[in-house]
């Protein structure tokens, strides 16, 4: 009897050991790529750094320098502008496109194919393509059209007032397709009977949208809304590729500022402090998300 139990335990231990061996590569990768750098990022943000090596503990000094840097408030405002513009072009427009795709019954497959097409392009190609579309002389697409219509070439990306808007349009042009198709495939799942029932109740098209489609989609819409904001809040690649923050720092985002601290100015400690500050802002945002989510669920 006792021997049996021992044998059982041994078998479990051996079985578990084999399982741990199989998952070990993934755990090592996760430790070195995610857990360790995440912890070090917080710890090192309290240190002075020489190159990429922490030297001495300086408390909150890095945070103080980052927050009092004159660039910080301007960059923060820029980042909020990125988020705001991209809510319109990268979130609301895809919803509209998805709703329309859901109604149209002709050329469905072709439409779906073309709508998704720009999403296939890598971000860096999209940035460069739009860099050429916005090209300041008449070799750019937009300026060639303007010149054709008899106007003067316009310095698109060099116009600091709207640079962020133009960058957001270019990135939404690409991300829109993927987003629209996520919504579209969710819309396809709305039960036909719900619409039929609404029709019998005499509901018009818009009240059907409001009473049937929107409640069904609200959870997903809110989730994507938060994810979209989080994604754009960290925006780095597009401004780096298209304008490098210019003209006159008009399009520098927090992500790009952090990149500059870390990899061009040789002050990675500020990048780390800025990273923690951005994280705190995002946690606050997520808290709001969960409260909103609760409210939406209560209302359903």
């Amino acid at each position: 009897m006792e021997k049996g139990i021992l044998k059982n335990i041994r078998r479990t231990v051996v079985r578990d050991f084999r399982a741990w061996v199989i998952i070990l590569p993934a755990l090592l990768c996760i430790y070195f790529i995610v857990i360790r750098p995440q912890i070090l990022a917080v710890v090192w943000s309290f240190f002075n750094m020489n190159g990429y090596t922490p030297t001495e503990f300086v408390g909150l000094n890095n945070y103080k320098i980052v927050l009092t840097d004159t660039a910080f408030m301007k960059t923060f405002r820029n980042t909020l502008l990125y988020v705001l513009y991209s809510i319109i072009t990268g979130y609301l427009v895809p919803i509209l496109v998805a709703l329309i795709m859901n109604e149209l019954v002709h050329f469905r497959k072709t439409t779906r194919f073309i709508v998704y097409l720009p999403t296939v392009m890598p971000a860096v190609t999209v940035s460069l393509l739009w860099y050429f579309v916005y090209y300041p002389d008449q070799s750019g697409l937009l300026n060639s059209l303007i010149v054709r219509l008899g106007g003067e070439p316009y310095m698109w990306l060099q116009d600091g007032r709207f640079t962020i808007l133009y960058i957001v349009i270019s990135m939404s042009w690409s991300s829109l397709g993927g987003m629209a198709l996520y919504f579209y495939s969710a819309l396809q799942g709305v039960s036909r009977e719900l619409y039929e029932a609404a029709v019998i109740d005499g509901a018009g098209v818009f009240s059907r949208l409001k009473e049937v489609t929107f409640p069904y989609m609200s959870g997903m819409l809110l989730l994507f809304f938060m994810r979209h904001i989080m994604g754009v809040f960290n925006i780095l690649e597009q401004p780096l590729q298209m304008t490098d923050g210019g003209p006159n720092n008009a399009s520098v985002s927090l992500g790009l500022l952090s990149y500059r601290y870390a990899f061009t100015d040789g002050t990675p400690q500020y990048a780390l402090a800025l990273g923690v500050i951005m994280f705190v802002i995002m946690v606050a945002g997520t808290a709001v998300y969960f409260r909103l989510n609760k409210k939406v669920e209560e209302n359903l």
């Binding site: 995440q38 109604e103 996520y182 960290n234």
Partner: protein, 314 residues
């Protein structure tokens, strides 16, 4: 019986062209009944026009890029500019291939991207298998941990990661100018671990039990039952991973400084400051899109289906 069928066919013919045009309003808010009313037909046409405009806006930059790539520099700057290039000189493609040395870029990028996909599928696939089926003591904790880690912003890790690639804590070697940083990061694709776990959860347990009774080892069960039965998810995840890595820019920029190991994303970025003429720069961009385009056309079904998987991920 035949008469009834005949009657039925006759009645079908009677249905007007208009209602046949809108005979399958099967998914949207608009129903077949609505489409008999002119109001809704007008609405439908309005929506179709909106869609058409959207499609034009999507395609215009792509077509412009293709046409401009084949124009001569003088053609680009002439006023008024022509829509079509004077000639489609396909030898230009070959010239630019040689000038930019695309053989190098394609070789490097494929090595980097395929390596990353392989690491992703093998490492994350095995992890998903352990979390889904073997479930050793403590695996629930790992599962929860992965979910928590997914919420953390990856941008925070840039500096410590870069430092680690400069000087790995074990053995103190430098990983810059190799593809190991990219491959290592592919092994920590948290989302794919959860994705594969969910896919394996859906495979019938009796199949696995039967194989185990026949004396199959863990790896055998993984390779001969789990992978084949979750092929659609595997293929979709691989495609998304390949597309991601093929065009990746940020980490290659930081870690691949040597031009010898340079990849496609960096090539595209360098075009911005290149001294070549506009047409060459635009044409060169195409080489960075072609593989994804081909994959998209071949595996359309998987990619579109994958959007459903992605929708569940949140």
């Amino acid at each position: 019986m035949i008469e009834i069928e005949h009657e039925y066919k006759k009645s079908l013919k009677k249905v007007s062209f208009k209602s046949r045009l809108f005979s399958n309003m099967d998914k949207g808010v608009l129903t077949n009944a609505d489409m008999r009313r002119p109001r809704y037909i007008a609405l439908y046409i309005f929506l179709a026009v909106f869609m058409l405009v959207h499609i034009v806006l999507v395609l215009a930059p792509c077509i412009w890029m293709l046409l401009t790539g084949f124009k001569e520099p003088a053609e680009i700057y002439q006023t008024p500019s022509s829509f079509l290039p004077a000639t489609f000189d396909f030898s230009k493609v070959w010239r630019i291939w040689k000038q930019m040395n695309f053989t190098k870029y394609y070789t490097n990028t494929f090595i980097m991207a395929f390596g990353a996909v392989a690491v992703d599928v093998v490492v994350c696939g095995l992890a998903g298998y352990v979390l889904s089926r073997l479930k050793p003591k403590g695996s629930n904790f790992i599962h929860g941990l992965i979910f928590c880690l997914m919420l953390l912003p990856s941008s925070m890790r840039q500096v410590p990661l870069y430092k680690m690639f400069l000087d790995f804590p074990i053995g103190h070697f430098n990983m810059l100018n190799t593809y190991f940083p990219i491959w290592l990061m592919a092994g920590a694709t948290l989302f794919d671990i959860i994705l594969f776990k969910t896919a394996f959860d859906n495979i019938s347990a009796s199949l696995v039990e039967a194989a185990k009774i026949d004396g199959a080892s863990n790896m055998r069960v993984f390779l001969q039952i789990m992978v084949p039965l979750s092929m659609p998810v595997m293929v979709t995840a691989s495609i998304f991973a390949f597309n991601f890595h093929f065009g990746s820019f940020f980490w290659p920029m930081l870690t691949l400084r040597d031009p010898k190991v340079s990849v496609m994303g960096l090539m595209v970025y360098n075009l911005k400051t290149s001294t070549m003429t506009m047409d060459y720069r635009i044409l060169a961009m195409f080489f960075a899109i072609i593989p994804q385009l081909v994959i998209f056309i071949i595996f359309q079904k998987y990619i579109m289906g994958g959007l459903n998987i992605g929708g569940v991920k949140g």
